[in-house]
């Protein structure tokens, strides 16, 4: 039981609770300060543990430390997530979520998953979040009359400026993060029993790796096509090639099922959001608020 880590987690939980939206919010800045201190304390704990396990080394190539940009992207990601949760206005919360997605893409690049980083930006920030912003704007047309009676909060309805169950939620989150970090981090230098890490070599099956290297080796080099790095025999396959080979060979059935699921979701979304339903006719066919 590492009490410094527990104190940092508790401080972060208290800061998050203070920053949740409420009617009078005098302690938002204090909550932000507490949260930032908790995050800094957490990072310092990680650095200290790396120094204890592997000895203090200079530079970012140390064994027990991630690259420096990890701390930057992790801080932006956590700060953006807190911004999503604690922002009363939904459009700004969606924009903070775009920030979370971009920082997450940065972390993916640090983890050598550059294709997944681009896919995250294109699909998550580019499609899903845009859909959210559209629906937020569509669904906030009818609520301006029911909102506050003037001043700065004229556009945010009352239910956006309040939270219920915030204390229980923060307590549950504190227990969750506290338990996970207490179990994981103080024992991080003791290896798990059987861990197979193939450093520098992809751990696809042996046949797949040989197949890929052989197929790269027999690409015709005599054409006038520009020389790319995949034309050299025995080259390390790129992230896209590894991912594609895994996805279409080992997870081919799952891929087809994902396509079927997307088709079903598409049909379902069109059916759900139809306007001239039978209930609409039965209710008199009048004008609905969202039209």
């Amino acid at each position: 039981m590492d009490y410094a880590l527990l104190a940092a987690t508790a401080l972060g939980a208290i800061g998050l609770y203070l920053m949740l939206p409420r009617e009078r919010a005098p302690l938002v800045r204090l909550g932000g300060l507490l949260g930032a201190m908790a995050l800094a304390g957490f990072f310092l704990f990680l650095v200290r543990m790396a120094d204890q396990s592997f000895g203090p080394t200079a530079g970012t190539g140390a064994e027990g430390r991630p690259p420096v940009y990890f701390y930057l992207f992790a801080a932006i990601m956590i700060g953006g997530a807190v911004g999503v949760v604690c922002q009363p206005r939904p459009v700004y919360a969606a924009l903070y979520f775009v920030l979370v997605t971009l920082a997450g893409a940065g972390l993916f690049v640090l983890l050598l998953a550059d294709f997944m980083a681009i896919v995250l930006i294109i699909i998550y920030a580019g499609a899903i979040l845009v859909t959210y912003v559209f629906v937020i704007m569509l669904a906030s047309q009818g609520t301006t009359e029911a909102g506050g009676g003037g001043g700065a909060n004229v556009a945010t309805p009352a239910y956006d400026r309040r939270t219920s169950g915030g204390l229980v939620a923060v307590a549950v989150a504190f227990v969750l993060v506290g338990a996970i970090t207490q179990v994981l981090l103080p024992a991080a230098d003791k290896p798990i029993a059987t861990v197979a890490t193939y450093e520098g070599r992809p751990a696809v099956s042996r046949e797949m790796h040989n197949l890929m290297v052989a197929s790269l080796a027999e690409a015709p080099p005599a054409s006038t096509a520009p020389v790319s790095q995949t034309a050299t025999p025995g080259a390390q396959p790129s992230n896209v090639q590894l991912l594609g080979s895994s996805l279409f060979s080992q997870y081919a059935v799952s891929l087809e099922l994902a396509g079927i699921l997307l088709t079903i979701a598409l049909i379902g979304a069109v059916v759900i959001a139809r306007k001239n339903t039978q209930e609409h006719q039965a209710l008199g066919g009048g004008k609905l608020p969202a039209e």
Binding site: L16, L20, F42, L46, M49, A50, E63, G64, P66, M77, I78, A81, V84, P90, F97, T101, L107, L111, A113, M116, V119, L120, I128, T131, V135, L138, A139, S140, T143, A146, P157, Y159, D160, R162, T163, S164, G165, G166, V172, A173, L176, I180, L185, D189, V195, A196, T197, A203, V204, N239, L243, S245, L247, A258, L262, I264, A265, L266, P289, A290
Partner: protein, 102 residues
């Protein structure tokens, strides 16, 4: 990538998941609640990619592709349902729809 560095990323994923959990339980706006489930998806995605890097196995990244697929399908259907509910009563408050509660 040593195990300690892996645990850095796992801790970040856990913190993101917990923040999404707080937002889901505390906010009263239906769309905001779904946005907080998307934060939980981000935390899980960080975990999967970190494990994929640790074991040098692209299976984790394949699973993140499926996770993005499920998130997109769920987002479209959930927002369709929210729009449908919004047409019945012009409010996004989940407390208005608590007739089946208790």
């Amino acid at each position: 990538m040593s195990q300690l560095v892996l645990y850095h990323y796992l801790a970040v994923g856990a913190i993101l998941f917990a923040i999404g959990l707080v937002g889901f339980m505390a906010r009263r706006n239906m769309i905001m609640m779904f946005l907080c489930t998307e934060i939980m998806f981000q935390g899980v995605a960080i975990n999967l990619i970190a494990f994929s890097r640790f074991h040098m196995n692209p299976s984790g990244q394949s699973f993140v592709i499926f996770l993005l697929t499920i998130a997109a399908a769920e987002a479209s259907l959930a927002l369709g349902l929210v729009v449908l509910l919004f047409r019945r009563r012009p409010t996004l408050n989940v407390d208005e729809w608590s007739e089946m509660q208790g």
